[in-house]
Amino acid sequence: MKLTLHIWRQKSPNHIGRMVQYEHANVNPHMSFLEMLDVLNEELIAKGEEPVAFDHDCREGICGSCGFMVNGVAHGPQPATTVCQLHMRHFKDGDVLYLEPWRARAFPVIKDLVVDRSAFDRIITAGGYVSASTGSAQDANNILIPKRDADLAMDAAACIGCGACVAACPNAASALFTGAKISHLSLLPQGQPERFKRALGMVAQVKQELFGSCTNIGECEAVCPKEIKLEVIARMNRDYLKASWTERPEITRGDD
């Protein structure tokens, strides 16, 4: 099949980017979307043009590296699918596609379709963990967890941190990502001791990173390749609200 691609090309964060048009004739319906770009890149190199940069690694839809906008939709038209798992059989001969990097102030463009998502790591650093140092754990079966809770926690924990939720959100909010981690840990007994401190810490970091606020539009849920549900945002908001009301300065007592 033949495609017309309009791809965002930007040499570096300091250069001005622009859309560049490519006619791509060697597309096979069995290719993945990234394999289609691989073939385009091989052709570009042969012509002495620099290949299009895009993030990718596992190509199994699990590492969360890949992702860009295809015709304005994060990860393209197929629901619950990362762009590395999107296959060309879902497109038609002669289609015109626009490829752009994630759009969000908190995700600056590094080059072409590659953006900087390190803000996500900083949100996790602000409390997205259980403080359990190695070697101090009790026997695993001493912590009983109802199957329903374990399943719900797993639903939230399935987030791959790709950033599609942010890119799709008109406010560029990271609520689905942050809510997923807060929900994962707050649904489990291990997450309880730091539950409210975690919510405060992570939400404060979200603000610092210049992500927008959530106004319950739901675009994030619509594009999430792991089908994380909006309910994680509700859980985050409940925890955050409760934490804001009940927050007390931590009193540390010396050994005197």
Binding site: S12, E35, H87, A132, T134, A140, A150, M154
Partner: protein, 637 residues
């Protein structure tokens, strides 16, 4: 080169405890004076970084991905073994040890494997404490399933995303230490050389992948947790970025490379569809619990699967291995699939595939149960192939998956360069010639959480280290070398792309050093690989510059190393005149076509030493002894 394994003696149950007691400790107040570099942030690297920092060491952790959460450990699907015996089905530390030594075809170190089995129990506890959402029974207890090569249910899992959840657990523990200031994280940074000062590993030269800046980082010890070298085959189940550069450059600085010919073929991958294909996708081995593998009895039978009646199907694994059936170990399952296809009974357009059929399991358990167990895998299969496995059998074929070889390490996980450690898939130590399912995650985390953080203290406490910084001549020399290679790659401006070389190399080593090897094939590859390498250095085309994000340049460096590594792999395969585990030399097989080991002559670890530029590598041998599990013909009949 002398290989001192430092393996403790005495009753195997007490070796690790005694060893831990005997190694020297670093006083907690002194730990903060030491700094350690950890390259790689997968299960082994992230867990080691977190634990070292918890102990008080200063850690610098490096990964080439944009975040440590993306390391390839995240893609492991099926599960992690632990000898908990929660199912009361006869499991024990000893049984896990026994299964692993036997499954590794008697080419692993008994002491290491016993320690792994022992620690497996603590790993599950640690991960649950971190909040890893393992599957649960209705009463709230942990659920288990069984995996290839085992007759007990000892595999813990989090849907089909076990690797992801374990990695996120370790990643979160790592970032907790970043918050505490004990770990400094360097994402999008690639190690390109090892700095050795006075014979000891003291740092790395790394390239910032965004700015292209080449920088030296110095420390008191260096740990490589950089994964395996399976991408030498081009098509593999590894992430595209997985590479052998860190371990290969350490090898060229004096670390021995052990058993490079041991690569594991995973039996249940989605078959290749065309020339443009960039990687292979693995379907979890847990599918073999309920799926039945078959091919048509007749050669060249092109009927669709539902048109082939029951008595014209050959469920070859159940027929040949009645007691293990579809759950035989990976090497056996893979080889049998290949021979069915070689006989002309393969299915699918290319004839390189066998059926994995769930229709009986769906009849027995209902669609809903199957969906609960494997739903995401079925969806993934449908997404890639366009076929719905609830209605038609999956087609699967073996693919390169995991590499059992790697840097040689002693019992303390230290390589032959003092101060350089290797953890997880980057070392050779625990799996022998073959790896049982659900044991890679176990090894990565055992090394990172429970072994390295203790043994590294022994090295630091016993070693006098001079102060060293980036102005050290050794660092300068290494930086110069790295800059020189970068410059050369960018100046060639030849006619061929990096990928075209990689693809050609991959096909070469797959054909001649893949699932089956022969002397003639290996000799042919040993001639062709150096020719291809020469052509690469004359005719590769890497566009762009060195002072920017340049993915082609990154890739070129990695492929250049694969072009050297591939030769060593073939050389290792050629010297091993036997078949064992993932190394199957066609000349050495039993009359039934099973692998024929030669314990009298080849019961050793082959540790290769770099001979210098243009000189052949030197083979060193660490003899293997088996005091507890006595070598016998592996039989799964």
């Amino acid at each position: 080169m002398e290989l001192k394994s430092k393996t403790p003696t005495g009753p195997i149950e007490q070796r690790w405890d005694n060893h831990r007691f005997n190694i020297k400790l670093v006083n907690p107040a002194n730990k903060r004076k030491y700094s350690v570099i950890i390259v790689g942030s997968g299960l082994a690297g992230a867990s080691a970084s977190a634990t070292m920092a918890e102990l008080g060491y200063n850690v610098k952790c490096f990964c080439f991905q944009d975040s440590p959460r993306r390391a390839h450990s995240i893609a492991a699907q099926g599960g992690i073994n632990a000898a908990k015996n929660y199912q009361n089905d006869g499991d024990s530390v000893y049984r896990l040890f026994y299964d692993t030594v036997k499954g590794g075809d008697f080419r692993s170190r008994e002491s290491n494997v016993y320690r792994l089995a022992q620690i497996s129990v603590n790993i599950i506890d640690q991960c649950v404490a971190q909040g890893v959402p393992f599957a649960r029974e209705y009463g709230g207890l942990l659920a288990n399933r069984s995996f290839g090569g085992a007759q007990v249910s000892r595999t813990f899992y989090a849907r089909g995303q076990t690797g992801q959840q374990l990695l996120l657990g370790a990643y979160q523990a790592l970032l907790r230490q970043v918050a505490g200031g004990k770990v400094q994280m360097f994402p999008r940074t690639e190690m390109l050389d090892l700095i050795v000062i006075d014979g000891k590993a003291r740092g790395i030269v790394a390239r910032n992948l965004i700015t292209g800046k080449i920088e030296s980082h110095l420390a008191d010890a260096v740990v490589l947790g950089t994964g395996g070298y399976g991408n030498v085959f081009y098509l593999s189940t590894n992430a595209k970025g997985s590479n052998c550069t860190a371990i290969w450059r350490a090898y060229k600085r004096g670390a021995a490379m052990a058993n490079p010919c041991y690569t594991q073929i995973h039996p249940t991958c989605i078959p290749v569809s065309g020339e443009y294909q960039s990687k292979l996708t693995l379907m979890s081995e847990s599918l073999r619990n309920d799926g039945r593998i078959w091919v048509p009895k007749k050669k060249g039978d092109t009927r669709s699967p539902e048109q082939i009646p029951e008595d014209e199907r050959d469920y070859y694994l159940e027929r040949k291995y009645p007691s293990f059936g579809n759950l035989v170990p990976r090497d056996v399952a893979s080889r049998n699939a290949k021979s069915a296809c070689d006989e002309g009974r393969g299915v699918g357009e290319q004839g390189l595939g066998v059926y994995l059929d769930f229709s009986d399991a769906i009849k027995r358990l209902g669609k809903q149960s199957i969906r609960e167990r494997y739903g995401n895998l079925f969806d993934m299969y449908e997404r890639i192939t366009g076929d719905n496995p609830y209605n038609v059998p999956m087609r699967i074929y073996p693919a390169i998956h995991y590499t059992m070889g790697g840097l040689w390490v002693d019992y303390n996980l230290m390589t032959t360069i003092p101060g350089l450690f290797a953890v997880g898939e980057a070392n050779f130590s625990d799996h022998g010639a073959n790896r049982l399912g659900a044991s890679a995650l176990m090894q990565g985390l055992a090394d990172g959480y429970f072994i390295l953080p203790y043994t590294i203290g022994d090295y630091l406490a016993n070693t006098k280290l001079e102060k060293a910084d980036a102005s050290n001549p050794a660092a300068r020399e290494a930086e110069k070398g790295v800059n020189e290679v970068t410059r050369r790659l960018l100046e060639i401006r030849g006619k061929r792309t990096v990928t075209s070389f990689h693809r050609e190399l991959g096909k070469l080593v797959w054909d001649d050093c893949g699932m089956a090897r022969t002397e003639a094939g290996l000799k042919k590859a040993l001639q062709r690989v150096p020719e291809l390498r020469d052509e690469f250095w004359k005719n590769v085309n890497v566009l762009g510059g060195g002072e920017e994000l340049n993915q082609a340049l990154e890739n070129a460096g990695r492929v250049a190393d694969f072009l050297e590594f591939g030769e060593l792999m073939c050389l290792d395969a050629l010297q091993r005149n036997e078949s064992c585990g993932g190394h199957f030399r066609e000349e050495f097989q039993t009359p039934e076509g099973e692998a024929l080991r030669d314990d009298d002559n080849y019961s050793y670890v082959a540790a290769w030493e770099y001979g210098g530029p243009g000189k052949p590598p030197i083979l060193n041998k660490e003899p293997l002894t088996f005091e507890y599990v006595h070598p016998s013909q592996r039989s799964y009949k």
